[in-house]
Symmetry: C2
Subunit: 251 residues, 2 copies
């Protein structure tokens, strides 16, 4: 059995899953561990939607940009910021909740993300594989419809979960010293940026990536292909409208 | 040595720390593990500010509502959404970054929160204790000044970190079935809410909490004392202004 150090250091996202089913008891065990993560004021302002049904997966597939792992993984988990449950509890107990604002959304989103990551570590420590779906916030409005999320509930991330059917190379990371700062933020000189990104830029997979996308630098693959300004602006407005519609912008 | 299951299931936040120093190699080891957490498009759009200096801790103390653990813990880590580094890399590589919008902030915030939680698990697996500081987003504007965060960088959470000098009771959690939903969100009936919150309400510490705060229900302690509407609205506006000032609302 792997040590926790090895699990954390050797982890990689898994996008191909075997047909081996994911036992419900194991899933609950993992979720139970996830819910021991820190939560603001012990309010637990999150909910987790479990998708196993094939038709539900097919409905969610286009909302996650047709990434095949959405239907291939035995389980999809959608983690939501959720003040609906807490607000109901308040109202039933002669208390007037004041959580219809942006701070409360962010608090609940952080709660949900901490649970999500703890679920991932718990799953990976059992030999399961996970992959995050960043598309969740892009298509939050449509996911709300499919998962029937009431006001007060916003999906903030999702993961696919199952037994790995691939063993990919671990992807690179920037040197640790590039993301940590001692005492105050030390802004980056041109030389710093060059040094910190050199290894990434010189990787064979980066060169292939640039070529495949007909770009001249790796950064252009991000700005012009993968995460374009127009898309970011469009999805920003979708997300802000979702926050308004779900009742988190009343201030 | 504890298993990863026990570490996750038995965890608790630690607010009192011994004077035992936290070795820099161990800290780096933990941060290295944290940075293996999933990150959107492998962009790693986060930074971690390490506070060890006593004067820096004293400057941060009031910004974290004078919680003594801020100065007592050997280390404070502030996790920031950070597109500054990535934007600089883009500009140095003939690429025009389009990350000055809300979606990009949320992407970077999620990145930072996943790293934070992985750092916590890594720390706890070494026997260290952590406690999250929710105050980070409330006082983001002032924390930006103290930590000298440039545009593109927003603090989203912080933790205290050190060797535990207490062994508190583990706090309660809602029953797992109250936070999970199968396939679609099953909204809560009055009976559901009663059943799910019964254990919490009947706890001795909840009764004491109600009495100490001169309230008649536990929910009122949250709405009228701990997380009040006026404060939430005030801090919502602070946080949104921070997003504007740091360049994340240009859409």
């Amino acid at each position: 059995m792997k040590s926790i150090s090895d699990i954390l250091l050797q982890r990689k996202s898994i996008r191909k899953y075997s047909s081996r089913p994911l036992d419900d008891n194991l899933l609950h065990d993992i979720l139970e561990k996830g819910c021991r993560a820190s939560t603001t004021g012990n309010m637990q302002v999150y909910s987790i939607i479990i998708t196993r049904d094939e038709d539900m997966k097919k409905s969610l597939l286009p909302l996650h940009f047709n990434q095949e792992m959405v239907t291939e993984a035995p389980v999809l988990l959608t983690f939501c910021a959720d003040f609906n449950r807490f607000n109901k509890w308040c109202r039933q107990n002669d208390a007037v909740p004041g959580y219809d604002n942006f701070l409360s959304f962010f608090t609940a989103a952080a709660d949900a993300l901490l649970v999500a990551q703890t679920v991932c570590v718990a799953a990976e420590s059992e030999g399961l594989g996970i992959c995050y779906l960043g598309t969740t916030t892009y298509m939050a409005d449509k996911i709300i419809e499919v998962l029937e999320l009431p006001p007060g509930v916003v999906p903030v991330t999702a993961i696919t979960l199952g037994w790995p059917d691939e063993d990919p190379e671990q992807v690179d990371r920037l040197p640790l010293e590039s993301v940590i700062h001692s005492e105050v933020y030390h802004d980056y000189s041109e030389q710093d940026i060059k040094a910190f990104y050199r290894e990434k830029e010189e990787r064979e997979d980066s060169r292939i990536f640039i070529q495949e996308n007909n770009k001249s630098t790796l950064a252009q693959v991000f700005t012009d292909v993968r995460y374009k300004k127009d898309d970011n602006v469009y999805f920003s407005n979708v997300l802000i409208k979702v926050l308004q519609d779900q009742g988190f912008m009343n201030h």
